[in-house]
């Protein structure tokens, strides 16, 4: 519970706080019905209803986790500019609602696979901040032992399959995971996320064809942030109704900045996929940063556009308004929550900075799996010993 975490952490419990706690705790299990911002647009299926069942606890959890994701991405931005994170760093701020809403609708047995904008989804799947920052800075304690980097986060126990650098290549992988779920009769689904740029990849349609043929529980989610790196969607796609692109596969267009719409759509999609086969979800979302840290993000779109979206459609602001309007917390409490989150992120970064780099011998581990006749032999039948200069 978010609130019990607050009590355990804060050393100073002021009176307004404690009064607030008693008020909040009593409304914890109260169900709340929230109306999504926009109706769903459906292709070849009946759209789900606009009323989403939620609870006050879920509302506060949404706020907290989304604020955590936002803070984490901004911290990653500063770490990149401080040259502690190198290479490519693709940030997800603005799109948090998709990660949060999806997590709320599914279990850890359902698989998620995404492209390179994976930090927040990894966090949603149960990753820790320490793991994330260590991996970004290439340290030992990273989730891929420092050998993957920003684009290669994986968490097998939570069925998070990454983290892929090549645009579109994760969609056939995702359909393969769905195939395995069907093969093993697991009653679980796979969400394969891709962007509006990747929606033009041929392998997507190949995988969709096979998924539809074999009735696989695959859900293809297009996170449409309207820009494929520097190319706007109207310049890259003849048809930007990505949810209709499945042709014979049903689709649903969702407001990706509304976490509850995402939650409702994912719930609907899961049910559909288990009963009837693949479905496409298009999440209409937006990223505030550029494509990656090396892209300022303002050469192909105006700053007015970015700030306009931030003012009108920001996912965290929406949840904040809902929290305040349902009287679940005061402004001050939310601000304190954000301060605490900031501290949490800073602590994780400090801890990650202290973590050592991987050992040189790690260069050669995990290339092959040891075991069944697979040790590489050198001329003297021992394992190939490679020593760094």
């Amino acid at each position: 519970m978010a609130l019990s975490r607050l009590t355990s952490r804060s050393n100073i419990i002021t009176r307004p706080f404690s009064a607030a706690f008693s008020r909040l705790l009593s409304t914890d299990t109260t169900p709340i019905t929230i109306e999504t911002s926009l109706p769903f647009t459906a292709h070849l299926c009946d759209p789900p209803s606009r009323s989403v069942e939620s609870s006050s606890q879920e509302l506060l959890d949404f706020f907290r986790t989304m604020a955590l994701m936002r803070r984490m991405e901004i911290a990653a931005d500063s770490l990149y500019k401080a040259k502690l994170i190198r290479g490519f760093c693709h940030l997800y701020d603005g799109q948090e609602a998709v990660a949060i809403g999806m997590e709320a609708a599914i279990t850890k047995k359902d698989a998620i696979i995404t492209a390179y904008r994976d930090h927040c989804i990894f966090l949603g799947r149960g990753g820790s901040l320490y793991e994330i920052f260590s991996e970004l800075m290439g340290r030992q304690a990273g989730c891929s032992k420092g050998k993957g980097g920003s684009m290669h986060f994986y968490k097998k126990e939570s069925s998070f399959y990454g983290g892929h650098g090549i645009v579109g290549a994760q969609v056939p992988l995702g359909c393969g995971i769905a195939f395995a779920q069907k093969y093993n009769k697991e009653e679980a689904v796979t969400f394969a996320l891709y962007g509006d740029g990747a929606a033009n990849q041929g392998q997507l349609f190949e995988a969709l064809n096979i998924s539809a043929l074999w009735d696989l529980p695959a859900i293809l989610v297009c996170e449409n942030n309207h820009y494929g790196m520097g190319t706007a969607e109207w310049r890259a796609s003849k048809s930007s109704s990505y949810y209709k692109r499945g042709d014979y596969v049903p689709g649903l267009k969702v407001d990706g900045m509304d976490a509850f719409a995402v939650k409702q759509a994912c719930k609907f999609a899961k049910q559909h996929a288990l009963e009837k086969g693949p479905i496409i979800l298009e999440m209409d979302t937006y990223r505030y940063h550029g494509h990656s840290m090396s892209d300022p993000g303002s050469t192909y779109r105006t700053r007015d556009e970015i700030s306009g979206v931030r003012q009108e459609r920001d996912p965290i602001e929406r949840i904040k308004k809902l929290v305040l309007s349902h009287d679940l917390a005061t402004e001050k409490e939310l601000k304190d929550m954000e301060k605490e989150i900031r501290k949490e992120v800073d602590d994780a970064i400090a801890k990650a900075k202290d973590c050592p780099m991987p050992e040189p011998s790690e260069l050669f581990t995990n290339v092959y799996v040891k075991g069944y006749g697979t040790e590489s032999f050198g001329p003297d039948r021992k394992e190939v010993k490679a020593s760094l200069p």
Partner: protein, 409 residues
Amino acid sequence: MSAILLQGAGAGAATALSPFNSIDPSKLVVPSRSSLSVRSKRYVVAGSDSKSFGSSLIVRRSEPLIPNAVSAKADTAASSTSSKPGHELLLFEALQEGLEEEMDRDPHVCVMGEDVGHYGGSYKVTKGLADKFGDLRVLDTPICENAFTGMGIGAAMTGLRPVIEGMNMGFLLLAFNQISNNCGMLHYTSGGQFTIPVVIRGPGGVGRQLGAEHSQRLESYFQSIPGIQMVACSTPYNAKGLMKAAIRSENPVILFEHVLLYNLKETIPDEEYICNLEEAEMVRPGEHITILTYSRMRYHVMQAAKTLVNKGYDPEVIDIRSLKPFDLYTIGNSVKKTHRVLIVEECMRTGGIGASLTAAINENFHDYLDAPVMCLSSQDVPTPYAGTLEEWTVVQPAQIVTAVEQLCQ
């Protein structure tokens, strides 16, 4: 072309019915070389490289299989005769047998490819499997190599063991991204969380006037992908053994078959056996020169060997089988004995397997060489359609004889 089953250093002592014992590490370092002295006898080797896996055990996938990395190099001479007569079959039937046995043994093994199911496989390797195992285990895919290879790899991430067939190896070029980036690298980039136990197999090589696009040899393109293993089968015996070993391996293995070798006939043991994935096969021990080859060129070399023997030469022929990693141990021992190396391969000259092998031999065994390593490969041209021209793109036995004579001067 009958396959001569000479297994020198590679043959293990145990038949498949003996109780399984663990590998004694002290035996691993120095092999017994006495078997190499019995050169001209023919052996039918039964259950050579394997220890018994318990005949009817359903092995749970999570149990570690016996690492058969180095078979105990016991004396092979007396104990290698089989107790049962064995059965004769063609190479594609051997592949099918291996595949079927593995599918019986482990319910996670499935086959995916074009026309592998109802049609029975374009080279009949998967014939009858769809009827036996059903459509969910023997999957007919649409023609989308990129996607179904990706799907196989995705399924392998969760623990399935797909055998992905490219109808012709050349078609797998469309799936190169999946094979290189996802298949080879996911184990590394995930820090060891995911293993990709796929087998990617298919026929390649120059056939009978199939044209340029259907005569490709992809071993040279795949060889530098880190994280994959490559093996090439050449006889029904090693085809079945390598297929089984590849399926059981936790690493992604690419099994190269050859279009012209599918109808080779040989008697293979009745007992269950596997072949070591990283071991080379001693085809014919000799003294004068080491000839390294693989796949179809093995037969051209053996044909040339007949001529060479008549001329008084004594070539040692090794089928390297394992294209990645090279079995530098067997090769090295041979080089240390003969001091001359000839590589005969079907790859192109530029950047082929022979090129890497030449570099490896020069780096490691330079002191033992009396002459430069010679490499006979296919010409660097697209394979022409005309029969006579096609013959000249690949290495012919006459060229091998000339090369040996030149090296042995």
